[in-house]
Symmetry: C2
Subunit: 318 residues, 2 copies
């Protein structure tokens, strides 16, 4: 690879983009890299497609994010694409790639086909943020300050389920030790990510756990998230994402599912597996995908029909 | 301090004890130290007072635990007391101390007054397990194998809320990296600690979250855990400990409380604080104690009277 620092220095302008529906690792990595590059380059733009979920509003550098404008016709010498295993997940900003002279792809998804002119792709890394840390400290020799470290920590923490998932390696903890040494405020980060739930969300969680339904010898747990329920508890549908983990974390459950009404006869299914069940294969059948242990799809049909179809498919492979 | 390895070698017999109501850090540290000492000494006994909560039944070396028998009149040359900030929390095994020639105290509680003949007391350590790791690797030069590492990891993970609490330091992550290098199975540990909840516990959680009560401008959340409720959901009262965290993790909550009926007119209160509130001070008023952010007490009275008394005290300092 050409020396990355040379490449950056030679670029007149630099863009940083990530996938749609931003999560902790996509936001943490674009902001962490963005804040770092701004220390050594005057013309760096960080783009997002979507609304940033409320719990990430505390991230340093959030004010630097620009909403991508497909009409702007901006061209870039170098575009960093972060945490994007599938180039089709870039949303509007896909067009930016065709307007970029060089693409630098940093990612940890196993599906990533190294689509960039330069690629740092490592499926063994816990997160893109872990890779960005190594890139900054080893390749660019940029000191990771408190703000950059906060961003990168958020991506590592959220993508590893707070270091509990088996994508956590010794290196993940070593990198995290360095991030803590940069003086990040763990209490503040934990508060924002995990201890700041709305009371209505908690009551909603109480409701769905009370009404949890088990199927197929109690190996499958399904949570229905209907429009009525969302309305009754006045919650933001996007904030129901973590509920599926509670269903997964029940003894004996091999597949946990949420069925959420997006609109009439359009259901978003989220899937989590425990043990050996492969929910990526299951999602593929319905035109969706993801990882072996976390996948999803969007299916036409009533909530009852969709539930029946999925249970039929699971029955075949359980 | 006398060289610890000499001290161990010169002792004919060694005991290891911890506090009553064993948690991840007490069990992890006595088992981790016990398994390690058994590599270099033939006469090591590890004691517990109480029943080990089900989720810790996967811990390596659990079969080595002996129930302490106050009548046995065993005497020891050296007794390790682990994770015990207050010598009165040893339960039955307090008598063992008077039958021990030397006491080696390893702990991370700020309340620990260094009661041992030898003391490793560090309130900045995340957990006793973190201190035991350093003791084994630096003082005793014992290789921390997979089994020992699993025990120590469980204590660190549970005492730091999976590395989310601010007792987590760079050293905590460095030690954890070494534990992972010993080949521990994160997926298996996470499954046992966090993904193996009974369905009745989940339904119970659903019930209490649906019935959560807020007080004092919604800064205080209280969960009542009555005998009737425990019976209705057929759950083990000891397994309700983590419920208080859900109450704490609601936006705006400064103090979370569970009130659990131990017997008629005897209530166990558990307290969690977020932000600056000091629940250790609050617990002290009721004859209890603990940490600034996690404390408890046992109070005589009906659940209604106890609730009122506590709210009155909180009102004074909120």
């Amino acid at each position: 690879m050409t020396n990355p620092l040379d490449m950056i220095n030679k670029s007149k302008n630099i863009a940083i983009i990530s996938h749609v529906n931003p999560d902790g690792d996509s936001l943490g990595s674009i902001l962490g890299l963005g804040l770092a590059l701004k220390k050594i380059h005057t013309n760096v733009t960080i783009y997002v497609n979507d609304i940033v979920p409320g719990k990430y509003e505390f991230l340093p550098g959030l004010h630097l994010l620009k909403k991508y404008d497909n009409e702007a016709l901006d061209e870039y010498d170098l575009t960093f694409v972060l945490d994007c295993g599938d180039i089709n997940r870039l949303g509007y900003s896909t067009t930016l790639l065709s307007r970029s002279k060089k693409v630098f792809n940093i990612d940890h998804h196993i599906s990533n086909n190294s689509f960039g002119d330069y690629n740092i792709v490592d499926a063994h890394a816990s997160s893109t943020c872990e890779l960005v840390y190594d890139f900054l400290s080893k390749e660019l020799n940029i000191t990771v300050d408190n703000e950059i470290a906060t961003c990168l920590y958020v991506g590592i923490n959220t993508d590893t389920g707070s270091f509990k998932y088996d994508n956590t390696s010794p290196s993940t903890h070593i990198v995290t030790a360095h991030l803590l040494e940069a003086g990040i405020n763990i209490e503040y980060i934990t508060y924002n990510l995990y201890q700041n739930n709305s009371i209505s969300n908690m009551k909603f969680l109480g409701h769905v756990l009370s009404h949890l339904a088990l199927y197929l010898d109690d190996k499958v747990a399904i949570v229905d998230i209907t429009d009525d329920l969302i309305e009754k508890y006045s919650i933001d549908a996007a904030e129901t994402d973590s509920i599926i983990n509670y269903a997964r974390d029940i003894k004996g459950i091999e597949v946990a599912i949420t069925l959420r009404e997006l609109e009439e006869d359009l259901i978003k299914i989220s899937l989590r597996a425990k043990g050996d069940f492969d929910v990526n294969k299951l999602a593929n059948i319905f035109g969706g995908g993801g990882h072996k242990k976390a996948s999803g799809a969007v299916i036409r049909g009533s909530i009852d029909n969709v539930r029946e179809s999925i249970l039929n498919e699971i029955k075949k492979s359980l």
